[in-house]
Structure formats: structure tokens, C-alpha cells
Symmetry: D2
């Protein structure tokens, strides 16, 4: 169980969202309300676009609530697009290479959820990664493998379709191994301009995921709230759980849905339908052969 | 808010108490029930007597629940007397020198609670430390200062009286600075043979503290419990909160009480009555003069 | 033994100086040439001015050469004024609160060298800190104490004079305790606009310190060097040891000297003459009385 | 480049060899003399047999020279058989799962050297690991992969032969990828009773490796040395580089050699001759097919 958030909008000091909201992601590292576990203290990560080339990463094994460096960076770095993740490890070691977001070139990726029986499936999933990318897997999480599968399947050309194929492939691989309920996932992906988010579960309710509502509506509903009045129509947030219980500010993203956030605050929904890619078939044959 | 435990009895693998009890101290690092906060994830410490000279310390800034080294040590080190502490930092940095237990020669010391307005009192309290010990204070917690005050006031000759004087001195110093409710404390102290524990608050209810009941009684009450049947009459535990909700196993130590545990499982109670030591008067005069 | 550097000039990506120079400060963490020890692997710190309010700090106990986060920050943060320090601990613990630079408001401070017999002098030095600042000392280095002494003595109004008084006070305190050769120091100080640096030793040769030469001269001397051609007349570097052995690029700062670097690349030298402040006398009397 | 040591003999406090020898392994973390690099500061590990079940591990990303916990453990744990390793990372992250020794059941394994172009070969090497063991690879070093290959090839039944096959397989895989000079290695392996060590390089001189001489000879040569007089005939050390320059104490293990140390101090030499195992052929065919 983890929690994550992504911001796309006007450039803001990162602390505005990490530390200055009442129930922001750092507070969620200690007191998550909607997850299986309240504590997400097994490391964290922050990825942002700003100075320099491509996205920057700051990842640490410390709990987010107690890391003075995170507080420093958040108070001094401004960004129009960033993602943060607080981790609750389920089995894999607490190490920076297991912290989200993961990066490839201009792309960032993060995940809340799991691949069921990952130890059993890990080899088959890793074999399906483009061999040229195999050595880029430095950690031991399911997420890093999913990311490299997505890159293999075209994440950078057609992000939602590639993730549908990743999930389809994992489900098919799981089925061959007799594993059910293969995937629990909310994903966040960005190339530095557009933001995609997915909410999906093979079976049963998926992990929670919310988008901020249209800024006009938010401001009309809460005219007395100074923070909310500072929002511009360009701003959009995607979060594992709402930062506060203000009515009308958050809309739940429905299960089995992918959303696309484009500059200007445009939010587009589409169904998320896993399908097995060609590679799954090939690999399955090799494995069965 | 922190949680601690101390064991004096037959030599046991440390994991028996840290990891194999249902609601042991490591579980309490994630899910404390009786404290102000459920999470004690800002580092931990383990002090034990066994091989080598004097007590050994293992302290880390990682949360206890996720540190693989703690699990290793607990599974491979046997000890007749050890103490463990999981920390919830309140203001001071997460660093090993702020982790309990603290050590001087053969002595170990740990603490749950706080000195109110410690930043305001810190200088006066540190001035009262024996100048020869001043440079031994490496961290920034109230606990480390209390420990060095106790050493200054004779902890190694008359532990309970020295702690009564420490608390009396802090209360008097607080009063001079206009600080009320100065001390919230459970203390654990040992010289490697005897174990002392204190429960005290200047005002209101003190932090919780429990001793394990007589082993004969425990075994009679729970004849079906294999773990409890392995206890010997020599064994005694002091804990911030019970490891499990078994009736008759734990007795609350009353507020304003010091207990002494001697080899053989002997448990002695006495009132804990803070009194200002001579040094407090001298320092107060200097400060007022 | 430590190494440090400071940049004041045109805004640059920090990595240009930390990682892209041949023998920059990160290389010096592994292979210092002019220090007592080649290895400065006991933590590091980076302080910079840029976004947000006041200077930002990133400090870590990891060796600078191996920390992926430092590499990330350096590649994505641009600053017109920053300082970096790599630490070789001499006795005090490896913890973030012992890493330089230290900060107060808009001020940053760092140091290479030591106070002789610091454990013996620590109490007297800490007593001379403004009591309102006493609780701000979180670590256990001599440097942090020197910084708070300097703040007490007016660093923010007259930086060089305050440091002269700090050193004078330490030397006087050392003398009273029978300690000779009290201070070995290069200091770096900034308020975000001006940069001061000091090179001094009570006895014998002081730690090395260099300033970059005038940019016009540098460019004329090395017309073929692209990196050096990118320097502007506003740029000035202060370093513990030169980044490369190019003739004419570095000028040694003489022992017993303070330099002031102002925007525009102006470099001013003045003698650095320790003198005991009034407070030293008062404290000495109290101690003797 | 790394340094390691292994002790098999009378039970000793671990600090006797880690900290109390003049140029022990911890000193080598800062000042190695015979390696490509003097600094081995990218984490360390200690594995020992003693209390509890099977070997214990303590691994940390801190430099060995500065870790207070290592000093504590070494001063309080006694063991008749232990291994220590200080790491100089070459490319892979500094994380505990990349620190040696690696463990499987009662077995410990460590390595100094490298697989050339490991990123290129990693996938083929990991595919040859027994699928049931695949998910046990948590880090990203070549060593961990070599260990799991060795386990796959029968390390626990015939350690030297299994390592010969591992090296043969890596050389063959490298050849297929056009990589020459595939393996540089000294290995240390133990099951808790016997100790094996290997020195080998595909091409050119191998990393250094030494065994301590017969204790009788050592004591005759250095009658005045108290530490050496305490050695018993059962004691044997294997080290990457000698702890001190005493004549007659250390014998170099020749390149292309495996040694076996059995209880009682017995030291047996045999040639180490890599050979490709059956699995190499099968995998090669699959890869070519």
C-alpha cells in the first residue's frame, strides 16, 4: 500500500502541496485514511520538471515525514509538473532503487498496488522486457518491472494502450501460473507535458484515485478558502486520497478508467481495458514449448 | 512518544521478544495502542549484555519494522538482559545519537516522555551536568541530558534517588522559566545486573508502564500457551505497553512509582518522589545573581 | 580534514562545478591531494540560493561520490551562489546535523579545520553562545559551536570582525585550559549576496585556500579551454584546493587573511587578526571566580 | 574493487580481526594498498556463525570505517567462523542488497572482482539461474547473480566444481557476446564448517589473495608478538591483502587456485579450472535458436 500525487498546472513551490495542505502526501505517509495500512514509511520519492535536462529525482529510504532534505527541496524548488510517492513495502527491501517514481529519459512512472504472487511471476515478466532494457532494472519491485514492460510495449508512443497491454500480459502470465486477482493498480505516468493516470483491479475494488475538480467550480464552492482561490484554471491534481474533506473539490476516478491531463487543466476519461499483447503469446509458447 | 521494553531473566534469543510476540516492541513501532501516536518510526535502539565487555548497542535511524539488520541480530544474539526502544521524534532530529538506550560504562538508560519546553530549559539543564561529562552529550534529545544529569547526581550509586533529584531539578528549573507540567517520563535503567523502572508525571496521567506478573501465576492462568509455559521464575519484563491482551499477565505500574527488578525475578515497588538536589539551588543562585 | 568550495557569479547548473570539473569537490571527497587525508567520505552538504525563501540545504551522511540524489540535484538546480562541503569526521559522529554548511536565516557557514581539544573546551565555548541560540545547536561539531559564537558576536553585522573575535575567544579559552595551537581554520560565510572567506591558523601553516583569478586573465591564458571561456567577469570561486592544475587560474589566499567577494567578481583582501571580545573576559572571570 | 577476509579457527571477538589488527579490513576500507583503488567506502557486510540458527548478516551502506554499529557488534560478538567485506561499487547502486556476503540457508558467499560488461551479460546469466531461485535476486550486482548461478550448479554439494562451472559459463556467455577478459575474481564461500577460497582471472593477473601461514611457523618467527602468540594451530585466515607486513605470516594463493580450509587449520590447494556446464550449452542453443 502506497500513496501518490501528481500536479500539473501553474508553477508552484512543491511544499505548497507536500507540506502545506492539511492532509497532503507527507501527512499521508504517517496517517493514510483510505489505504489498507495507515503508515507509508518505507521510503519515498519526488520527481519534478524544472531546471536542467529532463525530470529530476529525489528518492530516500527515510520516512517522508521525518526527512529534513525533502522539506528543504520542497521549500525551494518550483515546478509546473511533479509527482510524489510514499511507500509501504510489501516484501521487497527498503532501498532507493525500490522507491517511486521510476524514470526513463523524460518519462516518470509510479504505482500504488501490487502484482499478486510477484515472486512466482517475476522471471516470466522480466524475460518479456526488451533485452536492451533488462540491465536497467536495479531494484526488486513489481513496479519497476511493470515500468520496463510498459517501455517495451510502447509507453512512450501510446501510454494508455501500453499499460493496457502490460496489465493484460501480467494477467495472462498469472493465469498460466494459477495465480488469480493478478493486478491491483493505480498508475501515474508523465512525459513532462501530459499526465496519465489509471485505476484498475483484476478483481474487486481497485485502490482509490481522485482528480481535482474544475477550478472554477472549486473556487465558487469555497470562496472563503484562500489557498483554493489561488488555483488557476490550468491546475489539476491526481491523488491516491484527497488532501482534505472539502465537498466538491475531489472527484473519484472510476475503476477501470484511464485519465489524461493536458496542459490547460483538460481532463479526459477513457475506459482502461487490459489486453494481452503479441509478446505474451510468444513468451507463453516459449515457456510451454 | 516512544515505546520501550526491558527483559531480565533466562538468556533468550532477542527475537523471541522483539519479533515473535504478537504485539512486541517492533509491532508497536508501527501500531502502538496506548501512546499519543500509533507510529514510532523515527529510529530505534537495542542494548544488550552478552559477549564482550559491557553492554552492546545497536541504534539506527530506520524504522524498527523495516530494518533487516535488527531482525538478523535479534535472531542470532542471546541475552539475559536487554532493552529496546522505538522512537517517535518530537522536534529533535532523527539521528543515531538521539536514539535510546544511552550508555555510560556498564549502564544503559532509556526514556518515554518529554521535558516540556526543552529548548527553553536545555542550557540550564546542560550547565548542571558535571563539566567532565559535558562533551559526552553528542545528540540533542532531552533524554540524553537527563541521563547525564543522573550520572552527575549519582545514578551509579543510588539510581532511584538520583532520578528523583533529576526530576526535581528539572521541575525547579522549569518553574523558574515559567514552564509548568515539566516532566512526563517512564525511565528504564540497568547496570547489567539489576533493572530499575520509573513511572512519573509532574501533572496528570503518566505514560503507561507495565511489569509482567509472577511467572507461576502466568503459567497457571494460561496452561495452554506454550510460549508462556517456557517462562522461568527468574524472568521479568517491563514494557511501555503489554505485548498482548492476556488477562493476568501484566500488572500496571502505578504512577509515581519506581520498581526494582533483581535477578531471580524479584520485583520491588517504592514511591518515586522528586526532590531538588543541592546543585539546583547553587545553579539557580548563579542564574539569578 | 574537509574540503569545501563556494561559487558567486552567473547562475550555473550546480553540476558544472560539482561533477563536471576534473578535480571538483566530489572528486576531492575521494581523492583530495592537499589535505591531511585523501578521503572525505563522512557526509557532505550543499547550500544554495535560488527558488523559495532564503538558502536551501541538502545534507547527507553518505559519501558525496556515491549519493545519487546529489547528482540529481546538481544536474537540475541552477544557482548564482552556492557552497558545498565534503567531510572527514575527526571524532564527532557522522550525522546530518554535523554536516556543513550550517544555516541561520539567510546565512550559510562552513569550515575546514578544527578547534584543538574541543571536548575539553566545548562547555566553555557553548556557554558563551547567546542563551537564546543555545538550543539551536543540534549536532556535536566544533564548527556548529563556532558558527553560533559568531552569530552571538555579530556575524550578521560585521562578519570578518565577528570571526576575528570568535577565533580570539577560542584562543583565549584554550589558553586558560592549557591548550595550544587552538585553531586551524578556513571559513566560508555568505548572506546570499556577498561571500567571505578566511584562512587562519593559531600556529604553523593553515589549511589551504584558493580564489579563482580574474576571469579576463584566465581566459587569455587558456583560450583553447571551452569551459573557462564560458566564465563571465562576475564569476568567482573560493576552494580548499584547486579543481585542476591549470597555471594562472588559481591564486592562493595567504594565511592570516580574510577575503570578501562581492557581486561583479570583486575580490578584496584584508588581514585576519583574532582578538578576544568583551564576552571572553566576562566568561573567564565567571569561570575563575 | 573490494577487500574481504574470512576467519576459521578458535572463537574470537570479531573486533580482534576487524579493528585491532594494524591493517585489518576496516583500515582497508579507507587505505587499501593492493587494490585498484585505496577506498572501499560503498558499504560493507559481516557474516558470522554463532548464536541462533545459521549465519547472521550485518550489512550497511555506510563506510565501514565510520559505522558505530559495526564497532559495537565486533566488540561484543564472538565467532569461530566469520567473513567481512568492504565494497567499492563499480556502477551498481550502494544499497544493502548489493553488499556481501550473500546468504542461502547455511551458506555465505563473497567476491572481489567483476564480470566484464555485466550489463550486457546480465540477462543471459540470470536466465540460467534455477527459476525457483530467480526471485531471490534482490540487488543488482554481478556477485549476487554468480552466487545464484553457483547454487543452481550445485555449490552446496561440490563447491569448487560449481564455481568452476559458473566461471566457465560466464566466460562462454561473454564469448558469445564478444566480451573478452570476462572474469576477475576472488571468491570466499563457507557452509559454516569448511571455508573455500578461489583466485582466478580469465586474462592477466588476478586480484590478490593470501592465506595465513601455519601457526607454528608464525609463532616461531615472531616470538615477541603477543597477538600472534595467542593464535592456535586451528586458526586460519584468508584475506584480500595482508593485515600487516610481517615476514612469514602470509602466503600468497597462486592464481588459478582454489583452497579449502577445514577445521583444525588444514589448508588444501587445488587447481581452479573453469569449464562450461551442460546448462551453458542448452541456454546458448535457446539464445541462438
Amino acid at each position: 500500500m502506497c500513496r501518490w500525487m501528481a500536479w500539473l498546472g501553474q508553477p508552484v513551490l512543491i511544499e505548497e502541496l507536500l507540506f502545506k495542505t492539511r492532509h497532503g502526501i507527507v501527512d499521508q505517509s504517517l496517517h493514510a485514511r483510505m489505504g489498507a495500512e495507515p503508515t507509508n514509511g518505507d521510503g519515498f520519492g519526488l520527481g519534478w520538471y524544472g531546471g536542467g535536462d529532463g525530470p529530476a529525482l529525489y528518492r530516500s529510504v527515510a520516512p517522508a515525514w521525518g526527512d529534513p532534505n525533502l522539506r528543504e527541496l520542497a521549500a525551494h524548488i518550483e515546478s509546473p509538473l511533479f509527482m510524489a510517492h510514499v511507500r509501504a513495502a510489501i516484501g521487497s527491501p527498503v532501498q532507493e532503487t525500490n522507491c517511486h517514481p521510476f524514470r526513463d529519459g523524460r518519462w516518470l512512472f509510479l504505482h500504488n498496488g501490487f502484482v499478486a504472487d510477484f515472486a512466482l511471476l517475476r522471471r516470466d515478466l522480466m524475460l518479456a522486457i526488451d533485452p536492451a532494457r533488462f540491465a536497467d532494472v536495479h531494484g526488486s519491485t513489481d513496479t519497476e518491472v511493470l515500468f520496463h514492460l510498459a517501455l517495451t510495449l510502447g509507453l512512450q508512443e501510446r501510454p494508455v494502450e501500453a499499460l493496457e497491454e502490460v496489465v493484460g500480459f501480467v494477467e495472462e502470465t498469472a493465469r498460466r501460473h494459477g495465480v488469480s486477482d493478478a493486478v491491483q493498480a493505480t498508475f501515474g505516468v508523465t512525459d513532462g507535458e501530459t499526465l496519465w493516470a489509471v485505476r484498475y483491479a483484476t478483481t474487486g475494488p481497485a485502490r482509490s484515485l481522485f482528480a481535482s475538480a474544475d477550478v472554477d467550480a472549486i473556487r465558487r464552492l469555497h470562496p472563503e478558502n484562500e489557498r483554493l482561490q489561488r488555483l488557476s484554471p490550468d491546475d489539476r491534481l491526481i491523488v491516491s486520497e484527497p488532501f482534505a474533506d472539502l465537498p466538491g473539490v475531489w472527484q473519484e476516478i472510476e475503476q477501470g478508467t484511464a485519465v489524461t491531463v493536458r496542459p490547460g487543466g483538460v481532463l479526459h476519461h477513457q475506459p482502461f481495458v487490459p489486453r494481452a499483447p503479441a509478446l505474451a503469446t510468444a513468451t507463453a509458447q516459449a515457456a510451454d514449448g
